[in-house]
């Protein structure tokens, strides 16, 4: 599995290979405050969301992990939609309340403790049940858990890979497009595209 050097995107953001609009979007994520006060979720539910996000995107390699929960909280507060939702799902705010509550119900049913009190292996076993649509809990009678898992997973994934550090991780430098790309065929790299670390 390829690895790329650190710092590639951050270095490119300092150059004129990136447009001002692109730089503004990416730097806002890089420099987002490390503390975030939830405004939509109550403190306990927000900690639960953070704990779930930490298992879906474990980041033991980062001193400061890319924060994924603030984006969900801020979006639900604004009431933003992304153009559609499954008809079988309740509105997004309700879905997150029910879904996170359902995760806790599953944790209680399996381990007699809330999700945030479980160790990582126990937490992973709950997420596994959720992903397989087999998690216990009364909330799931009001919320299809496969759809909830899919929606939450997609939202966290969007936030994660939109972050410059995640883009460094996968060797993506498409944002540095001011001069365009001339070498676009197989195996053809331009000098600003990072080589894999062998």
């Amino acid at each position: 599995m390829p690895h790329y050097p650190e710092g590639t995107v951050r270095a490119l953001l300092e150059t004129d290979l990136v447009t001002p609009a692109t730089r503004a979007a990416l730097e806002a994520r890089l420099t987002a405050p490390t503390t975030y006060e939830p405004q939509f979720f109550d403190a306990d539910t927000y900690r639960l969301l953070q704990a779930v996000a930490a298992r879906i995107f474990p980041q033991p390699d980062r001193e400061t992990p890319i924060a994924l929960a603030p984006g969900v909280d801020a979006r639900l507060l604004r009431g933003d939609a992304d153009g559609w939702r499954y008809d079988s799902m309740p509105p997004d705010r309700e879905a997150y309340r029910l879904g996170l509550g359902g995760i806790n119900q599953a944790a209680e049913a399996k381990f007699q403790q809330p999700f945030t009190k479980l160790d990582e292996a126990q937490q992973d076993s709950i997420i596994e049940l959720l992903a397989a649509a087999e998690a216990p809990g009364e909330n799931w009678s009001q919320l299809p858990q496969d759809r909830f898992f899919e929606e939450m997973l997609a939202e966290l994934t969007e936030t994660y890979y939109a972050h410059p550090l995640a883009q460094e991780e996968i060797g993506y430098v498409g944002m540095a497009d001011v001069p365009g790309w001339q070498r676009i065929g197989l195996g053809e790299l331009e000098p600003r595209e990072p080589e894999e670390v062998k």
Partner: protein, 562 residues
């Protein structure tokens, strides 16, 4: 207009754009006799509409359905106004090369997706803003085939269009040359065309090369695809020079260079040059009629105000969800019972694989290579056909779609995505038969404006499932032959089609073959909603062709009426 010397020899761009449509030429000549110098409204602040003014033509929507006819009607000297729900952006300064930051290009009002194969909207389908969904279309512009319009004749299933391909061909030619489409000449699956593409094809990226290589082994013919992005600079009337594509690969999240022929850099500036007025941030809520059933005015919300604009004719070009939604909300043109019915979405199965080669899938036009050998496969057990195309992809789009299908999470998710630069895809775009179970309706749930959200029912039927199986088998063969590992398929349905079908009978269709509503003589509908069948190709070019044709039919009829 630039100097003659600056014209590049490699382009076939005429310095004086030729008006190809005979009717329009005639009208322009007549208008020149009584030229009005005060017509140019460019650079003037938008005035509040005069409440008493009755405009000749009011157009709802500025995408592929609305923009071409807006330009055509303005060129004919009519007083035309377009209402666009979104804003106008300067792509050069405002478009970021960042998928998340570009979400403002999508129609993000919530739609409820029902059925066994709920259709994704937002970044997938509809757009908002000066140019509509062409702001984020992939610019893939194959022509429909003759047989796409005669499915019922050929197979005894599906629906025929009320006219043949020869009705569309002159418009395809005009559009390809007006917008500067890059593509192969002769076209391998339609070599007898009267006119070739004006520009050479765009260069192939890694995904396209992999597909080309594997298809050659398997005996599948391929070609660089036709794309509405410039392979060389091109002169655009009403705009000036548009520069060649820089291979940013970002078509689906907004072209910042003007190389992609979205409506904002082609028909809309042309329309404005001829005096069309485009009102932005104008969200239509009501369509008013008189006692005879004729449309008299449209009511819209703009900057917190409610505005009424009177009109002699209305052109509804809001796409296959918002168009039927407006008709249903206003109880308009409902006599045939077909509004909202027969919603179709293209079979759009994708197959992805991981390769040893360094691909960097963010570079180059996403749909670089095409094969239409599968238009009528010999071993088909289904009606219709499909095309094959290579696909490049941006990381956020790829990752979110991949997790929806594969449900990867935790370390396996991060590990898989580390291979992003080694991943390439192929997808198909195939016909979809109209079916009574697939439709758009108004739900009881209201949006922030207090308007009923649309609910869209879609279930892939037997024919679509058979096509999916055939397509997945072929794509897996191609990717295996190309050397891919970890091959996986993603069943998806793309493009929104049908819901206000065109036909010859008022009891079976919403609009007549000219696009005019059977029930409402001064209402025209022009977008993907009028398609009687889905076609086996991407719809944008055909929507534009219908748009020009609808304008010409309207002008002819108006002329005949004196």
């Amino acid at each position: 207009m630039p100097d003659e010397e600056t014209l590049e020899e490699s382009t076939l761009t005429p310095t004086q754009p030729e008006i190809q449509d005979p009717l329009l030429r005639e009208i322009l000549e007549e208008n020149a006799l009584q030229a009005d110098p005060s017509q140019n409204t460019l650079e003037q602040p938008a005035p509040l509409p005069d409440p008493d003014e009755i405009v000749d033509c009011l157009v709802i929507g500025t995408g592929a359905g609305g923009a071409p006819l807006l330009a055509r009607l303005a060129q004919a000297g009519l007083r035309v106004v377009a209402l666009e729900a979104g804003a106008r952006h300067d792509p050069k300064t405002e478009f970021a090369t960042d998928e998340k930051a570009q979400n403002f290009l999508f129609w993000n009002d919530e739609r409820l997706s029902a059925g066994q194969n709920p259709v994704a909207f937002g970044k997938n389908n509809s757009g908002i803003g000066y140019g509509g969904s062409t702001l984020h279309y992939t610019a893939y512009t194959p022509r429909a085939h003759r047989g796409d319009l005669t499915l019922h004749t050929e197979f005894g299933q599906g629906v025929d269009w009320p006219f043949g391909i020869e009705e569309l061909e002159p418009y395809y030619e005009e559009l390809e040359h007006f917008m500067g489409i890059s593509g192969p000449t002769p076209y391998p699956w339609d070599p007898g065309r009267r006119k070739g593409y004006p520009l050479a094809p765009l260069p192939l990226n890694g995904a396209a090369q992999l597909m080309e290589r594997a298809c050659a082994k398997l005996g599948i013919k391929t070609s660089p695809a036709a794309n509405a992005a410039l392979s060389a600079r091109y002169y655009q009337e009403g705009v000036g020079w548009r520069e060649a594509c820089t291979n940013r690969g970002f078509c689906q999240a907004g072209c910042s260079t003007g190389a992609k022929a979205s409506m904002d850099v082609t028909f809309l500036p042309l329309a404005e040059q001829y005096g069309a007025e485009i009102r932005l941030g104008a969200y239509v809520t009501e369509i008013e009629r008189d006692a005879t059933g004729q449309v008299t005015a449209v009511v819209y919300e703009q900057d917190g105000r409610t505005v009424r604009q009177r009109c002699r004719n209305l052109f509804l070009c809001a796409g296959a969800i918002e168009t039927p939604r407006l008709l249903l909300l206003n109880e308009l043109a409902l006599n045939s019972g077909q509004v909202g019915k027969h919603f179709m979405a293209h079979v759009g199965m994708q197959v992805w694989g991981t390769f040893p080669e360094d691909i960097r899938p963010y570079k180059g036009i996403p749909g670089g290579l095409i094969s239409e050998d599968t238009h009528r496969p010999k071993d088909a057990d289904f009606v219709g056909g499909y095309l094959l195309q290579s696909i490049g992809v941006m990381p956020v789009t790829f990752a979110t779609q991949m997790v929806r299908q594969r449900k990867l999470w935790g370390q396996p998710l991060r590990d898989y995505m580390r291979d992003y630069n080694h991943i390439a895809g192929i997808n198909v775009l195939g016909d979809c038969l109209p079916h009574a179970d697939n439709f758009v309706e108004l739900s009881a749930e209201k949006d922030a404006r207090g308007v009923s959200k649309p609910r869209v029912h879609f279930t892939a039927q037997e024919n679509e499932q058979r096509m999916n199986r055939h397509a997945e088998r072929i794509m897996r063969q191609i990717w295996e032959a190309a050397g891919a590992k970890d091959i996986w398929a993603f069943e998806r349905y793309a493009h929104i089609i049908g819901t206000a079908r065109m036909g010859t009978s008022a009891s079976e269709a919403v609009v007549d073959p000219n696009g005019r509503a059977f029930d409402v003589p001064n209402l025209y509908i022009c977008d993907n909603s009028v398609f009687p069948s889905a076609l086996s190709v991407n719809p944008a070019l055909t929507i534009m062709a219908l748009s020009l044709r609808t304008a010409d039919k309207f002008l002819l009829q108006r002329k005949a009426a004196g």
